[in-house]
């Protein structure tokens, strides 16, 4: 039913463009992996990955033209992913301060 309420149809051309961007970003990931970035390796690689994932969600998974409920579902999963990271890191990041104030 929702498809009829949102009659937007992605063209083959737009898929090809997104695909080429993804390929380019993959090449960029390999390139940065071989560059002397020091501490910045992980943030840069993860940043590129986030951009790629966002493109996949928005276009290949049709989120861009989906109803609000679909956005809620997608957003909810990220909130839960955030819970998993935040509370797990709450453990790792607070281990160092044990005993510091004794």
């Amino acid at each position: 039913m929702d498809e009829h309420e949102h009659p937007h149809v992605a063209t083959v051309g737009s898929y090809v463009v997104i695909f080429l961007i993804l390929v380019a970003l993959t090449v960029l990931t390999v390139f940065t992996a071989l560059s002397p970035l020091g501490h910045w390796h992980a943030p840069v690689a993860l940043g590129i990955a986030v951009v790629k994932a966002t493109l996949v969600f928005l276009f290949f998974m049709h989120l861009l033209h989906s109803p609000k409920l679909t956005w809620l579902v997608a957003g909810g999963t990220f909130v839960w992913l955030g819970i998993m990271f935040a509370l797990t890191l709450a453990d790792y990041w607070s281990r160092g301060i044990v005993g510091r104030y004794q």
Binding site: L87, A90, D91, S94, V98
Partner: protein, 550 residues
């Protein structure tokens, strides 16, 4: 428009056999014959029965392991099994019971059968996906059974690393893959329930007119959808480490074993709510039907389910107080664990308030419901004891913990499952069960259960460790009591197996509404026609309107 207004039915005398003879009317059971018609069915009611068979088989397998454990623990020495064999016994008991019975139990049997009917729908939103979920469940069972036969598994049901990835020489992978496959079955069922609840409610059936069983099934489905992918991923990571040697959890290869515990419990604490929330939904139906009153504080009970679903995801670290987790994180997890007790307590108080001044009848389902309220309360309150880090450090990995979660899982989930099965048995089969036998079985289960697990609180608090085949002599009396209770409990579970089978052929016909209960499922025939209703029902009243016709 050929719709009928929904009004609460009156209690009516139970008709004698023949009044609703199966040969006079087409229902979902007699509409097609043969193995093919069952194995290729897309009818949610038939799929519920397929699940009932599979889950009952797994329940008795898990029970058999429990029997062997209790026999071994009759004596302080490990004389029946080698310690290695004993490790396999409790691991396989835990894995089979948790993943193959408790998690799918209420949703895939009672939920599958009832959810569409309670919504006034013809079926679930995706009937073929529903059948696929059963086949995936069977595939998961077969993989796990292969692992059990082919060497067994001794990691404990928790698969803790680095033992599971590095040291265990048992069939960890077939069992882990079986559990992983099972996750997809849960996800498909949950997806089906969510979409069906959103899109297929009968005319007039607004969210706040939904039966509370639907609310709790919906909340459970959300937990399944959000949590299960994490255990799936975690088991894949275990496989990657075991086969490819990538250091994820193994400290020798640069990994962190505590990370496994975070990921595992991120799913497995919410999984406790996957097991108990649908059971709570069953109890809401039973308590109202057998005290002939509307539920006290409908919206509180409904929102309590949602609150449990959300807060259940924030407390997993209470399983990790002795893991090396930072004490600051432990404090946070401990505090949130206390908070999650509030919605559970709301439910217990509201059920109790529902009983107040009700006209209570002591049919078998009500015995199970009352048993649930008492036992779940003990299980829940001892959970608070364990959520306190200073106490938990003392009783971690003792029988106190074992007793606590069996009060929640057996005293809670299984009592509700049995109560629900008796309550809806007439709807599912068209036949009444024998009330006298059923009451006897319910009492045996209740007393057998308490005799099994109450001594374990005592022996655990005194320091008896779980997961050992031997123990010091002082603990023998309590262990003998526990084993004696387990044999009563086991007999109590075998009885329904016999009389349910008997009832299919010899019991009197039930009629559409043997309990005089409200709810759409009681407005249709027993067993229901293939598409549940002859005409689509229209709902005008809130649920549990017993007052209007008492």
């Amino acid at each position: 428009m050929s719709t009928v207004a929904y009004s609460p039915p009156k209690a009516e005398p139970i008709p004698v056999a023949g009044d609703y003879g199966p040969e006079t009317r087409v229902d979902y059971i007699n509409c097609a014959w043969g193995v093919r018609s069952w194995l290729l069915t897309v009818d949610h009611k038939r799929i519920a029965l397929l699940y009932l068979f599979a889950i009952t088989a797994m329940f008795f397998l898990g029970g058999a392991f429990a029997v062997l454990i209790r026999i071994e623990l009759l004596t302080p020495k490990s004389d029946l099994f080698e310690p290695d064999t004993y490790n396999r016994m409790f691991t396989m008991h835990g894995i089979v019971m948790t993943f193959f019975f408790l998690i799918p139990g209420v949703p895939s049997v009672l939920g599958n059968f009832l959810l569409p009917i309670m919504l006034g729908a013809k079926d679930l939103a995706f009937p073929k996906l529903n059948l696929a979920s059963w086949y995936i469940y069977i595939l998961g069972c077969l993989l796990t059974l292969a692992g059990i036969i082919w060497g067994g598994i001794d990691t404990g049901w928790t698969f803790y690393t680095p033992y599971s990835t590095r040291s265990a020489h048992t069939s960890v992978m077939p069992v882990a893959v079986g559990v992983l496959v099972l996750g997809f079955s849960s996800i498909l069922t949950a997806l089906n329930f969510i979409v069906t609840t959103h899109t297929m409610r009968a005319p007039g059936l607004t969210w706040f007119k939904l039966p509370l069983f639907v609310w709790s099934s919906y909340a459970t489905s959300l937990v399944v959808m959000l949590g299960t992918p994490v255990i799936t991923t975690t088991l894949v990571l275990v496989a990657v480490e075991r086969f490819a040697g990538v250091g994820i959890f193994d400290p020798k290869a640069g990994g962190d074993p505590v990370l496994f515990q975070h990921l595992f419990w991120f799913y497995s604490h919410p999984a406790v709510y996957i097991m108990i929330l649908p059971a709570m939904g069953v109890i809401s139906e039973l308590v109202t039907a057998f005290s002939r009153k509307t539920i006290f504080g409908y919206q509180f009970v409904a929102f309590a389910s949602m609150a449990i679903a959300v807060f259940g995801f924030l407390v997993w670290g209470h399983h990790m107080f002795v893991s090396g987790q930072s004490p600051y994180a432990s404090t946070i997890f401990s505090l949130i664990s206390y908070v999650v007790a509030i919605p559970s307590a709301v439910k217990v108080f509201n059920w109790t308030a529902t009983l107040y001044k009700g006209s209570i009848s002591w049919a078998t389902p009500m015995l199970y419901a009352i048993g649930f309220i008492g036992l779940f309360t003990i299980g829940g309150l001892t959970g608070l004891v364990l959520a306190s880090p200073p106490v938990d450090v003392h009783v971690t990995d003792t029988y106190f913990v074992v007793a606590h979660f069996h009060y929640v899982m057996v005293g809670g989930t299984i009592m509700a499952y049995m109560g629900g099965l008796h309550y809806w048995w007439p709807k599912m089969t068209g036949r009444m069960y024998p009330e006298g036998w059923a009451k006897a079985a319910a009492l045996l289960v209740f007393f057998g259960f308490n005799l099994t697990f109450f001594p374990q609180f005592l022996v655990g608090y005194a320091g008896m460790n779980r997961r050992y085949a031997s123990y010091v002599d002082e603990f023998q009396v309590l262990n003998v009591l526990s084993t004696a209770g387990a044999s009563i409990l086991g007999f109590g579970f075998l009885l329904p197996f016999g009389y349910f089978g008997w009832s299919l052929r010899y019991a009197k016909a039930a009629g559409p509404n043997p309990w005089g209960a409200t709810g759409l499922e009681w407005t249709t025939e027993s067993p229901p026609p293939p598409h549940n209703f002859e005409v689509t029902p229209t709902v005008t009243l809130p649920p549990y309107e017993y007052a209007t016709h008492n």
